[in-house]
């Protein structure tokens, strides 16, 4: 396990980042920090994918100089997945930020627990 971990250090870093992001999204009371956690979590997955798709010594799959050999290029599918993932993550972050603005305008705080307390007081 030890040497494998060292060789695949990129994946190991991605997993650690995923954990950090996940913990932040779950545990932080502050909404902005939660959104930062969300972005760290998603980016960690993209790092993982990019790391998995890369093959040492090969180049991006753009045919140049007429080289058609498959052995010359890296796997393009993970890159495609990363792009799709980024689009999803951007739209989700935008929605979360919009919701945060709504809540901030109403309750003048970013603390989700504080907002819950104020809601209880309102008795809605």
């Amino acid at each position: 396990m030890g040497p494998n971990l060292f060789i695949n250090y990129g994946e190991a870093v991605a997993m650690i980042l995923f954990g950090i992001g996940f913990g932040n999204l779950l545990l932080q009371p502050n909404l902005i920090k939660k959104i930062i956690g969300l972005n760290i979590m998603d980016t960690a997955v993209y790092l993982f994918l990019a790391e998995k798709g890369y093959i040492a010594g090969r180049v991006a799959p753009i045919v140049a100089d007429g080289v058609q050999d498959m052995e010359a290029y890296i796997n393009p599918i993970p890159s495609g997945l990363v792009l799709t993932g980024i689009v999803v993550s951007v739209s989700v972050s935008a929605l979360m930020l919009a919701l945060t603005i709504r809540l901030y305008r109403r309750y003048h705080t970013l603390d989700l627990d504080e907002i819950s307390r104020q809601l209880k007081k309102e008795g809605l």
């Binding site: 939660k34 997945l81 929605l95 919701l99 809540l103």
Partner: protein, 497 residues
Amino acid sequence: MDLVQNFPCFSIILCLFAGIISSGLRDKAALRVNTVLLTVVTLLSGATLLYTLHTGESFVYVMGRFPAPWGNEIRAGVLEALMALFFCIIMLLSLLGGRHKLLEEVEEGKTYLYYVLTDLLLSSLLALVYTNDMFTAYVFVEINTISACGLIMIRQNGRTIEAAVRYMIMSLLGSGLLLLGLCMMYDLTGHLLMSNMKESVALLASGGEYEIPLIVAIVLMTSGICIKSALFPFHAWLPDAYGYSTVSSAAILSSLVSKGYIFLLIKIIYRVIGFNVYHDTRIIDALFAFGLMGMVFGSLSAIKENDIRRMIAFSSVAQIGYIYMGFGMGTQAGMTASVFHILSHAATKSLLFIAAIGLTDVSGGSRKFIELTGAGYRNKWAGVTFTVGSLSMVGVPLFSGFISKLLFAQAAVQNHTKMLPALIILGISTILNAIYFMKTVIRIYTPVGETAYTSITFREMRVYAITLVAFILLNVILGISSQPVVDMIQQGLAMFA
């Protein structure tokens, strides 16, 4: 290729386009587009169901003429078509039943947005049901989350926005885990199409290679979907989201959105990992345990609740526990029972939400039990419907809930090690269900002498009353003629394998 084979793809595209067109329309026109869309998609799904029943096998629709393993595919069998048909009917009825509340609770000139969101939601649900590609499934899971969040916050007050934020946070945690698990599966198998993944997983499992990564990936995907569908310890967001949003949203969220995710899990179990490999990982024991806990604790929370909408919401937690308990049995019979319970719970829970709104409307809009006293006399249709829903939830014969309880009990008997806990908890949960639902039914039929609230007649709520009758019919049909549905489910599950 037959014309019918185009229908699944056609329905998804139709929903997406209806959503785009509706965003430029006025309220009334968007409503019309939505109703026409739902009717058309219901007919298309019905045709697909008949076609697959007739041919007796599933079909694959290749998107963009790229053959497997590169292209994207749609796959339709009996079970997929049945689910799509059922989802459309429930959504149509939920929207009809909650229409008057929607007009009250959402600003005029903004209700068209609601229909944009429901169109998108339907497209994502259909895509989750039909897709044969894991990454497409992930993208539509996110679309589903975003539109569900919109459905919660369309009614603007502090509560709903807070509920929407909490819903989003839990959903995003779930989809993060799902995405990570999916990427690991891609690395292990080298494929994204479900059928190709399954072949590679079978090779890996038989060769004993990459055992731990495979289990980690399966656990990540399963727990992601469990969080998203509010299995017991992850249900904290659920009561607020179901309890304070507008009533159509509550009905759609409880009966369709969470079921869409659960259906995706069924597809993952059967079509990506393979039933036997999944069974051998022992994850199903965890699902079984959490399902049992959900059945008890969801019902206990519902008993404590003093708010009818939140009570029904907590009851959902218990019912989702039933579904996961069926997965946890690890037998085909348990799976069949779970799928039947998905249908039965979807039909009953949306009925309960829609009926509850009729009762609270004639009680001055209050949802507290004390105010609901005698509401069954003030709105007779809603009272009768709520009683039917309660009886179905408790598991009285004639109604759909009875059949699913029966199927669960039969499945439990087949599994020797899990028989005892399953049957005991099933019994306890039924008693708890009876306590809180019968308490409500007795409350709404307790006569009150003098009351400040007025009754409502059939003429004032024609559409609403007809919707209620349709709901009751759906429930009774599922309860009386359950055998054809169970046969279809078994046939569909056999096609999955």
